[in-house]
Every structure is written in structure tokens, then in C-alpha cells.
Symmetry: C2
Subunit: 405 residues, 2 copies
């Protein structure tokens, strides 16, 4: 059994790093506060007897040796980076639940056959550097190392530069055998809480497509330019926001469609915008539907831009097909649920997780706990100590199942 | 007669300060490049025998004495600041046409009864600091000095601080008697060029209303948040952009309606936006129609935000009623046109100008010249040397008419 109070306390201590006035955190990837969070995690792991490895993508692995250290490790973890206005649980919960498993194994004097490692994956959120889960993607061979290190933030700083700056450009190669991977996470959606269930047994994750759109019109003066002579890039972008929303509803209830980011140029009150950069995020559990959403968007954007006389470039910068997790790992999670008698249900993850990439190279499973009002990527994101503790118990059980006692 | 070549050369020399790769200028108010432009203007004026006064809003007045220096001056001028992606003529043309009038009076050895002054008004564009024409507004008593000096840019720097920083926080009081004010400007719209006319005799200027809107929803994760549970502030903002455009068309051909600026929070690809800041710019030559546009917007915004479950704050930050210029000044402009036999037509200004505020405290007139393709607030903004010269000729004639020979 894990120590739920200790896990909660660690979460609250970590939440001080990058704390925001509204009770959330801002710990953007590879900033000074991300470094501070990493340093604290490393200190805690060393105190728990782990050895630390950092790979060239800045992924951190804290290793608790097993009986047979030639065997591939069972890895668990998640990420410490956050959204600009993020919460205290997204990502960090999976990391600290992993640490709590190690601490509990120590307390219980339990040896495992396989080594157990707690992983911190770099830049999972994809907020400062797009796309999301880029470093676990390199680990899984989806992206190559150069691609990962060259991702740039809006100021043009690359992940490679920023890793070096904060001292987390490790020298270990990125990627190696993993016996099994588990990730605990808050659901980030409303289902578990609405149904009064404590644990989500994650069987699948939705597919995702991320796009960048550049819409081009003609800058002109807001006063003397008649309505009929305008090529207003923001008018086009606005209609695309509405289109994306309609596509989401059209393929509901399982589709999600979002414009999260928009940059208007020159962004001056009395200038008809000449250029807009915007992003689109499509999700669906079925790949064929994602393809239909893609088609609907491309047709809709072409029509909108034709009508106004705008240029449109659409660039799909990120894609992964829906993921089905490993049946044996799913079973290991179910066993943890049954052992403690938690209420539970099967779930499809709406968010992407490092587990989605790990699933390509290792048997993988995920454990969800509810979050209050289904709200995440928001400073008010919240969870109860009971849920936090329950997820840790299930994680311990699943890890023991695969690591062997 | 003025020296058209010299005026053109001065325009091209000034255009080097803040020159952009696409042939425009970026000389945002009170930046280092704005200071460099002001310094060059001051040097030129001193060389032309003028004395310089700077008032507390940073407005610069270069004075050529008259026969009777107790008389209020005839003032002409415009602004040196530009849009972020502005052109080589907007504003600077009126300033340098004024300087050319002074230089020509010197060349011709002409004395005037009233002193003649060339004015540079601070922050006309309203791009770095909103609203537009704030310093001529203080001069005309529309805004008080504290309001003017406390206008802040998006980084929170105030006009007062920035004036001090660049050395243009003068000590002269803001506002004093003006015998007459003339301003030469490019049309910034398509009418003169389309009709093949060289001079616009500006009889009126449209009224304007500027708004700031803050739209509030709930930030949430783009993946696991079902379409039906979203309070997407950007979806609301997008529909408001479309609404504003429809209002422009509804009251066309004389109305203009623009959303020029939008800031999305937290502006992260996988976060449903929780907040949007946006601006609205309405223009019409009739005040009653502006009021109807205001009503249509308020009703439309309320409906859009109700449907999505968003909060909306609408703040009208800038308003002026349509302006009718002084009939004697309009006549003085007409005389200049007739004397040179230029083709001309009467016009309503679509843009706001410092002249619109000066008109409240002094007899005021304006001279327009065409601009290529009617494009302004764009780096490609352009005019021909013939037009530039013609406007200067008319300006000289109008100033002589009011300053007395
Ligand atoms: N868990 C999480 O918030 N991941 C970010 C990537 C995504 O948008 O799904
Ligand atoms: N002339 C000019 O561009 N003025 C800026 C103020 C306005 O938007 O009308």
C-alpha cells in the first residue's frame, strides 16, 4: 500500500514551483521554473536511493534497481511541464505517483525482478514548443533527435538551446528497451466524476491532428477602405474558427475540434488585418473520422478564403492515429482496481499522453483519476486526496504485476 | 511655388528612419526610431531658420516668425509616427509639406503677417498607444494632460515615461490660440485615384467610435472536453468579428467596421481559450448612424455571448462626432486648387486626423492627395512625385491666404 498523504504533500510542494495567483501553475517547458521542478524531483529521487540518467532530449529516468538489472525496466511517469495557465495535477501527478511507488517499495522492503524507473518526459504539453509529447516521441522513434532538438518557441529559442541553458541536455541516447510502461494521470474530462467512479481503466486514446494555418489578405486602413474592397484576413480566420467548431459538433459526441491559438498581424486597432496565424486541433477515436474532419476543414477553408479573396496555407504539423493500449497492461490495471475494490470504468483518453508514444515500443497501460468539474488546462484544475491516493495504489499494483516480485 | 523635388527628397530621406524590408516604415510612437525622425525634423527646421518649441505632450512646433508675432500663428503639420507596418507618406507627408512651405517662403523671400508654424503631433496613429490623435486631442482640450501622459502601450509603458526617455517631454503648456490650421495628407482610400483627381478638398471627416471588448469563457482542455461543455471565448470573439463585418455591410456604402486587434488567452494550441481581448472600430459620416451601429453591436454581442455562455464587457474608449471643417479654410484650399488648375473633388475623410481635433479650437482645413490603389496602413503605401508636389502647392497657397502677405 502506498502513502497517500506523502503523495499529496509532494504534489503540494511541487505546486509551489511556478505557482500562479489563481492557484494553478505556470511551468512552461525548459524555463527556469521547469528546471526548478526537475531539480526538486531529482533531489527526491536521490534521497529515495535512485540513480539518475538524463538523455539527449532532457528526459529524466530515476532508477530503482531490480534483482536482475540486465532486464529492461518497468517505467512509469509523465511530465512536469504545464500549460501557461495550468493546474497542479496535469502530468506532475503521474511523475509523483511513480516516485511514491518507489518510496513505498522502499518502505515495504520489496524487491522487484525488473528495475523500476520513474520518467519525466520533456515538453509533453506542446504549449511552449509544438508539437506535444515530442520527447517521448523521439524516445519511441516517431521523431528523430534533430527534429526534437530543433523545435522552437515563438521567440525562436530551440529545445536544444534551452535544454543546454537549464543544464538538462543529458548525454544518454534517446530510446532503449522498456519492459512495460504505466502512466497515471488525471482524466482532464468530466466522465469519471459525473459517474461517481474513482478509477478510469484507459483502453484507448483518441487520434489527433494538429494544424497550422496562415491566412493572408491585404493590410489596409480601417477608415477609408470601403467594406467591399477589403481582404480582411481576420474575417477569414474568424469564419474558420466557426467552421472548426461546426465540424466538432457535426462529428460529436466523440469528436473534439478547437482553435486554441491565433496571432493577428499587424494587430493594430485601425488596420484591417493582413495576416493571421492560427492552429487547429482535431481529435476522434476513429482514424477514418479524423480523415473526414480533415476533408471538411480543407473544403471549408477554401470556400471561406475564396469568398473573401484570401490566401490560405494549411500545414498538418502533428498526427497520431488512435492508440489501443496493451491488453496485459490493461489487465494489470484492472487487478489493482479489483484488489482495492475501487469503482471504475473503461475509458478512451481524450488527451494525448507520453503513454501514447510509449505504446509503440513497449506494452503500455494508463490509470486515470477524476478531476473536479472535468476541468484541466486551467488554473482551477483540482482533485481530491482520495482520488490521488487511489490512483497511486492501482499504479503500485500494476507495476508489481509487470516488474515481478 | 514650392520645390517638389526637394519635398520628395525629404520624404525619401525621412523614410530611411525605421525603413522596413518591404519598402515601408515602422516608426511607432515614442520609440527610438520616432526620436530619430523627430531629431531629423528639428535639424531641418533649425537650418530653415525656425525656432523650436516642444510641449508637455511632446508636440513639436517649428516657428517661422511673421511681421506681427503677437498674432496667433497659422499652423500646419501632421505626425511622424507610423503603424507597425506603415507607409512612407501617412502623416510624414503633412509634416514635410509644411516644412517645404517654410523653405519655399524663405526661398521666395516672402514675409507673412502671422507667424507660420509646422507641427508634429505625438502618437497620431493610436497603434502603440490608444486612442489615436491623443496629443492633438489634449491640445484641443478634448483630453486632459494626465489622461494623455498616462496612455500605456501593451507592455505598460506610458506616454509620459516614453516622452521623458527619448527627450521629448517638453515644458510648454499644451494648447494655445491658433489662427488657422491646415493639414496635408494622403487620402488613404481609393476615390481620388479612381476618379483621376489630383486634389481632395476635405469638407468633413467621418465620426468614429473605438471599443475594447473583453470576452470571458472557461479555459479547458481541447481533448477531453466535449463540444457541448465548452465556453470557448474565441468562438464568441470569432462570431463577433463576423457580426462587426455584417454591421459594416448593413450600413454601407458609407460605414466602415473593423476588428483590427485580437489577443487570445492563454493562446495555447490545446487549450480552449478562456479569454479574448479585441477591438472594434466603427466609422460613419453621420452621428445617428454611428449610434445605430453601436446598438446593433451591443445587441449582437449579447446574443452571441448568451448562446455560448460567455461574459462580455464592452468599453467605448474613443469617440468623436463627424467633423465639418471651416468654410473659409475650405475656400482657401479651393483657391489653391484653382490657381494651379488641378483636378479636384470635395471629400469626406475616412481616417481621423489631428485636424479633426484642431477643428474644435481653430478654423481648420485639409488637403488630400491620392495614394496608389487606395492602400494605406501598409508597407506598400505609395504616391507619385506629381501628387506630392501638387498638395504642397495648394498648402502654400492656403497658408498664405490665412497668414496674410
Ligand atoms: N495530457 C495533456 O494535457 N497532454 C497535452 C497534449 C494534448 O493536447 O493532448
Ligand atoms: N490618418 C490616420 O491614419 N490616422 C489614424 C487614425 C485613424 O484610424 O483614423
Amino acid at each position: 500500500s502506498i502513502n497517500g498523504d506523502r503523495l499529496w504533500q509532494s504534489l503540494m510542494d511541487m505546486a509551489k514551483i511556478g505557482a500562479t495567483p489563481k492557484g494553478g501553475v505556470c511551468r512552461l517547458a525548459l524555463t527556469d521554473v521547469d528546471k526548478a521542478g526537475r531539480d526538486l524531483f531529482v533531489d527526491w529521487c536521490r534521497a529515495a536511493g535512485c540513480s539518475i540518467t538524463v538523455d539527449r532530449m532532457g528526459n529524466i529516468f530515476a532508477r530503482r534497481p531490480g534483482r536482475n538489472n540486465d532486464l529492461a525496466p518497468v517505467v512509469t511517469g509523465s511530465h512536469l511541464d504545464s500549460q501557461p495557465t495550468g493546474g497542479r495535477f496535469d502530468g506532475v501527478y503521474g511523475v509523483l505517483a511513480g516516485l511514491e511507488v518507489v518510496r513505498s517499495l522502499n518502505d515495504l522492503g520489496l524487491e522487484t525482478e525488473h528495475p523500476v524507473e520513474v520518467a519525466v518526459w520533456t515538453n509533453e504539453e506542446g504549449s511552449r514548443f509544438a508539437p506535444a509529447m515530442v520527447a517521448s516521441g523521439v524516445f519511441a522513434g516517431v521523431f528523430d533527435l534533430d527534429y526534437g532538438l530543433s523545435r522552437a518557441d515563438p521567440d525562436g529559442k530551440t529545445m536544444g538551446e534551452e535544454l543546454a541553458r537549464i543544464g538538462y541536455a543529458g548525454d544518454a541516447p534517446v530510446g532503449r528497451p522498456v519492459h512495460a510502461y504505466f502512466e497515471a494521470h488525471i482524466e482532464q474530462g468530466p466522465i469519471l466524476e459525473a459517474e461517481g467512479k474513482t478509477i478510469g481503466v484507459v483502453t484507448d486514446a483518441q487520434g489527433q491532428r494538429w494544424y497550422e494555418l496562415n491566412i493572408t489578405g491585404v493590410e489596409s486602413h480601417a477608415g477609408p477602405t470601403p467594406m467591399t474592397r477589403r481582404k480582411d484576413a481576420l474575417l477569414g480566420a474568424a469564419r474558420i474558427v466557426d467552421l472548426v467548431n461546426r465540424i466538432g459538433h457535426q462529428f460529436a459526441p466523440r469528436a473534439c475540434a478547437t482553435v486554441g491559438m491565433m496571432q493577428v498581424y499587424p494587430n493594430s486597432r485601425n488596420v484591417i488585418p493582413g495576416k493571421v496565424f492560427m492552429t487547429v486541433d482535431f481529435r476522434h477515436p476513429e482514424d477514418a473520422t479524423l480523415a473526414e474532419m480533415d476533408k471538411a476543414m480543407r473544403e471549408g477553408v477554401a470556400k471561406i478564403c475564396d469568398e473573401i479573396g484570401l490566401g490560405a496555407e494549411i500545414d498538418q504539423i502533428f498526427y497520431y492515429a488512435p492508440v489501443h493500449f496493451d491488453d496485459a497492461c490493461i489487465d494489470a490495471v484492472r487487478k489493482g482496481v479489483a484488489e482495492h475494490g475501487f469503482t471504475a470504468r473503461d475509458m478512451v483518453s481524450g488527451a494525448g499522453h507520453d503513454a501514447c508514444y510509449l505504446a509503440r515500443v513497449a506494452p503500455t497501460g494508463m490509470v486515470f483519476i477524476p478531476c473536479i468539474d472535468g476541468i484541466s488546462h486551467n488554473e482551477v484544475e483540482d482533485a481530491t486526496p482520495e482520488w490521488v491516493s487511489a490512483g497511486g495504489q492501482v499504479l503500485l499494483r500494476a507495476i508489481l504485476e509487470k516488474a515481478g516480485q
